[in-house]
């Protein structure tokens, strides 16, 4: 069958010139239409964000709209020194600590769940749909439920207990879904090969599965960190008396009408970009190392 298909390819080639997306030759008009749509989409995606980064570098006369009024770091200094804008420094600190804790827990639990879901087991659908439910449930409602639950149990809501749990109910479904995508490319025969060579179950996990899945595990960590770091709806009723950064931003959008709001946006996005860059860089590095080892 496949031989027939490969034989046919030569004959098919000329016809592909009028395909929806020929692999060579003249591009159809739809290419240019869709390429413009794509460009517009990317412009609309990044354009507004870039506007607020630029506007955050105004001087003291600055407002919320263009034109730029001077250039300075005034609003960044303002952000971290003024009491008016709230406890930005403290919430930064808490958000990063929380995101690190969430990342570690998300990676470990998602990896284990990914291993578990490789085979069907009695009741697996219950766990699966519980996870989907946790993903699609309105965050504010879940947050309120968690808050009331802590109240009923006489526990104090705080960012490292109730908010931690509430955030995990959001990051874990994403982590497990990413694990599913990664696991689907893992060949079970590699497990068998490891067992045949005398590896124990733990050795197979540590020396075969973890290294093979390493890029996917980095991706899970990226989801864990960024989703926690920006999480808002579920934290609102569960963070207790001390704010995380997104809660601080939320209260600023309601009260602050100066470019310090934009400055905060610039600072938090820089952190996000560093994390994204480091994660994607690590993934590329792992793949490259593999490529060179396979060649050499």
């Amino acid at each position: 069958m496949s031989a027939v298909l490969t034989d046919m390819q030569g004959a098919v080639a000329p016809a592909t010139t009028k395909a929806i997306a020929p692999s060579r030759g003249q591009r159809p008009w739809t290419f240019y239409v869709l390429a413009s749509l794509f460009t517009l989409y990317v412009l609309a995606l990044y354009g507004p964000m870039i506007c607020i980064y630029i506007l955050s570098f105004q001087d003291i006369r600055g407002g919320l709209v263009f034109p730029m009024k001077g250039h300075s770091l005034h609003w960044f200094v303002d952000l971290f020194t003024q009491v008016r804008t709230g406890d930005v420094k403290g919430s930064f600190d808490r958000s990063i600590k929380l995101a690190v804790i969430v990342t570690i827990i998300t990676v470990v639990i998602s990896f284990l769940a990914g291993l578990g879901f490789r085979r069907r087991f009695a009741g697996d659908a219950v766990v699966f749909y519980m996870m989907i439910g946790s993903l699609v449930a309105p965050g504010l409602v879940l947050g309120l439920g968690t808050g009331l639950l802590f109240q009923a149990l006489g526990l104090n809501a705080s960012w490292y207990t109730s908010a931690l749990g509430a955030q995990l109910s959001w990051t874990l479904p994403f982590g497990v879904l990413v694990m599913f995508a990664v696991m689907s490319r893992y060949n079970r025969a590699w497990d068998e090969a490891a067992y045949d060579l005398g590896a124990s179950r733990w050795q197979t996990i540590w020396l075969v599965i973890v290294p093979v899945l390493a890029p996917g595990i980095v991706a899970v960590a990226l989801f864990g960190f960024t989703l926690s770091y920006d999480e808002f709806a579920r934290s609102l009723q569960t963070a207790g008396s001390l704010n995380t950064l997104p809660l601080e931003i939320w209260s600023m959008t309601l009260n602050v009408t100066s470019p310090s709001l934009y400055a905060l946006g610039t600072v938090t996005t820089i952190i996000s970009f560093i994390v994204i860059g480091a994660s994607l860089g690590t993934i590329v590095l792992i793949q490259k190392k593999r490529g060179s080892r396979a060649k050499g």
Partner: protein, 292 residues
């Protein structure tokens, strides 16, 4: 069922692996939902105190209020509009990346370019429309300069239009990723065969690409619908307080400690959401799709 044939040892190993996941989801997903469900039957003293008991008055209050219908209509309007725009943009962006970009590495790079903002703050991305859409924003400035309008347009910011723009801006990515995934699995030979058989480009789109991306569209729809229906901050900020949705009204209720009515309205919303999601799930086996 397949699972009844699995040996007990495999069941045990499976449960051991997912037990930490269950240990988080039970107290932080199942229990909070049950608490909200219970609170919806409680009475209140009006000051945030809850009296355990069983009353349907919260539901009666919610269902009898003319406001409820208005809130649901507004929520449905936002959901449908956002869904249409994210679907159209998401579908064609994914289609472009899969079928028109010839260099695979470039396609992955462009795909990442679309996904990076997903990992940054939603609130910041939302407020970043203010310098563009505001009364003195860039769009009004540009339109005034070209002479297309003589008064700045007020409908751009703090309006339903701004709400939909912010939603589409944030959520199109949730359509692009699953649709891209299902399209990337379509065998290119299938399309070449269709061309050989004399199919037009439109036929290929209608008979091959759309049906084979159905599961991606369904997954994206679940994300977009559940996020828009569960959102409150975009509606609150981008409408300037002019519009409300079911959850933004819930937020106001919670703010004035009206927990039982808020809980009753949340339970109703959850039921609607479950109905919509299971309707979508009937068209596609999501689990098989994800684990494939």
């Amino acid at each position: 069922m397949q699972s009844s044939q699995t040996p007990p040892r495999a069941n045990l190993a499976g449960w051991l692996c997912v037990s930490p996941l269950v240990a988080v989801l039970v107290p932080f997903f199942v229990a909070p939902i049950l608490v909200v469900l219970a609170a919806s039957f409680f009475a209140t003293d009006g000051f945030g105190g809850l009296t355990p008991g069983f009353t349907l008055s919260n539901y009666i209050e919610v269902l009898h209020s003319a406001l409820t219908l208005k809130l649901y209509l507004a929520t449905i309007k936002f959901t449908v509009l956002t869904w249409i725009f994210t679907l159209i943009i998401g579908f064609f962006v994914a289609y472009f990346l899969v079928f028109h970009v010839r260099n695979q590495l470039l396609a992955i790079g462009l795909f990442l370019l679309c996904t990076v903002p997903f990992w940054t703050s939603n609130i910041i991305r939302m407020i970043s429309w203010i310098p563009l859409l505001g009364k003195e924003g860039l769009i009004n400035q540009a339109l005034l300069a070209t002479g297309a309008i003589h008064q700045p347009l007020e409908v751009l910011l703090f309006s339903d239009l701004a709400v939909v723009i912010a939603y589409v801006h944030q959520l199109t990515i949730f359509m692009i990723v699953p649709i891209f995934n299902s399209m990337a699995r379509i065998d290119k030979k299938l399309i070449e065969a269709a061309i050989d058989a004399g199919a037009s480009r439109f036929d290929i789109m209608r008979l091959i690409v759309v049906p084979m991306s159905k599961s991606g569209i369904a997954l994206g729809t679940i994300f977009v619908v559940s996020i828009v229906m569960g959102d409150f901050f975009v509606v609150k900020v981008m409408s300037g307080g002019g519009s409300a949705s079911v959850v933004s009204a819930f937020y106001e209720d919670v703010g004035v400690l009206q927990y039982p009515t808020a809980a009753a309205s949340a339970v109703l919303l959850t039921l609607v959401l479950v109905a919509v999601v299971s309707l979508i799930l009937r068209t596609v086996d999501i689990r098989q799709e994800i684990t494939r």
